[in-house]
Symmetry: C2
Subunit: 235 residues, 2 copies
DNA sequence: CGCGACTTTGAGCATATTCAATAAATGTGG
DNA sequence: CCACATTTATTGAATATGCTCAAAGTCGCG
């Protein structure tokens, strides 16, 4: 189902301002890019971009939608290790001469840009602004992973779920409806819980008037309630 | 107690071969380093190198011993998010213009090299081999974090502990005594468990003859036993 | 309208925690 | 070098948190 949409065109790319080429002035772009050729792919929910253990050939930038990076155990248990958004670079294990350490799947319908590894490395080495953007991406990725490790290792179920909701809705004004394109199962896989546990706490908070939701959106009605769950809860 | 041991000397540094300067030929080193001035510090168990939230001034390389990077919750719960070994670079959040996202503490007696951030950035930008080593360090850090997320999110207590032991002893030949300079409490903080749980399983495995240990060393007598705990356990 | 997938809810259970007490190891000062 | 104080580790019993299994309810889509 993964569908090739044709060659990418960095110059007209709608998410360039969020990509690793963000700081290249438009008129300098052709010279930076050179004969670097990307391609655009579209995929739908749960389609695989690459799998854990695969030998990398490309690195990717997400143009539209959301991606989940997952790891799994032999018996099928799954952990989502990161969610990739708009403009983010992923699938770069090859730059350290390693196979992919996780599987990448479409969380929603997505559009991705495939960047050939060798060309990308050439561009990075010759362009400080690209280099800097990539470095910052890796450091931010590490920071996010550290935060998630704190959640999974030290927080209890309701604390994890509440801080997840608050983080998800962080950049939006209070009381707005917000897309949450993760199923209950996916939320559980992200937070190291079971579907049932996720469902129970969400229902509880709906009854208490902290949140409202439809199948794929949420709204924080009383984020103070959730904040209390996050820190006061432990006492 | 943090004690300044004097200026660092990259040329004679015993761990240079493991550092980000590993690939610089010895005779090129002075020109690469220029007037970059490092300093060497020694610290003892549980002394703090920097704290979560601090504004970074330096980046560090570990010369001797082990370091733990931790995060904690308001009520005091602690999570170790990474253990730093020999030659590894840490404390680089400043390169992404961020404050430190975790606290760094000595796990054993340690010796660290303090690298001024701006000088390091200059060297990285001008030296492909330094740049590459740093990039690979970040990518490897991300991979390690992903693996740890799988452990914390998807594995049960005995599985976590068994895979921790196996990983710790991985590079050593079967049956060797191996330093394990983490207290039970620290193992618990790393694996998202309580001291009691850690102690219980270790005792159990000692009785079963899988492992032997002294206060700060272990020996895998029957690593097959542990391997069974890791994957067979779940069935 | 009916089927299939996802979600909610309930009841019982297992795992890991908490609290408490004992034991072992380590360090300190005399 | 020993006695004592302090920290660290072990073990036990009771509890709670989150999981498993099962059933009913919702939603979306053809």
């Amino acid at each position: 189902m993964a569908k090739l949409q044709g060659k990418g065109n960095c110059q007209t790319c709608p998410i360039r301002y969020r990509s690793i080429f963000a700081d290249i002035p438009e008129d300098k772009l052709p010279e930076v890019i050179g004969d670097f050729r990307t391609s655009i792919l579209t995929l739908t929910h749960n389609e695989v971009i690459y799998s854990e253990g695969d030998a990398p050939t490309h690195t990717y930038t997400l143009r539209k939608g959301l991606i989940k990076l997952t790891k799994s155990l032999p018996d099928g248990r799954i952990q989502i290790v990161r969610i990739i958004g708009h403009g983010e670079l992923f699938g770069f294990d090859g730059l350290a001469n390693e196979n992919h350490n996780h599987t990448a799947l479409a969380l929603t319908d997505i559009e991705i840009c495939k960047l050939p590894m060798s060309g990308l490395e050439r561009i990075r080495i010759n362009n400080p602004s690209v280099d800097k953007a990539m470095m910052q991406g890796w450091i931010q990725g590490l920071r996010a992973a550290e935060n998630m490790l704190l959640d999974l290792g030290a927080k209890k179920a309701p604390e994890r779920l509440a801080s997840f909701l608050l983080k998800w809705c962080k950049d939006t004004e209070q009381g707005q409806w917000i897309d949450l394109p993760l199923s209950r199962t996916e939320i559980a896989e992200l937070l190291g819980l079971t579907v049932e546990t996720v469902s129970r706490f969400l229902s509880d908070w709906k009854r208490k008037g902290y949140i409202e939701d439809t199948r794929s959106t949420v709204r924080l009605v009383d984020s103070d309630g959730l904040n209390q769950v996050v820190d006061g809860y432990s006492k």
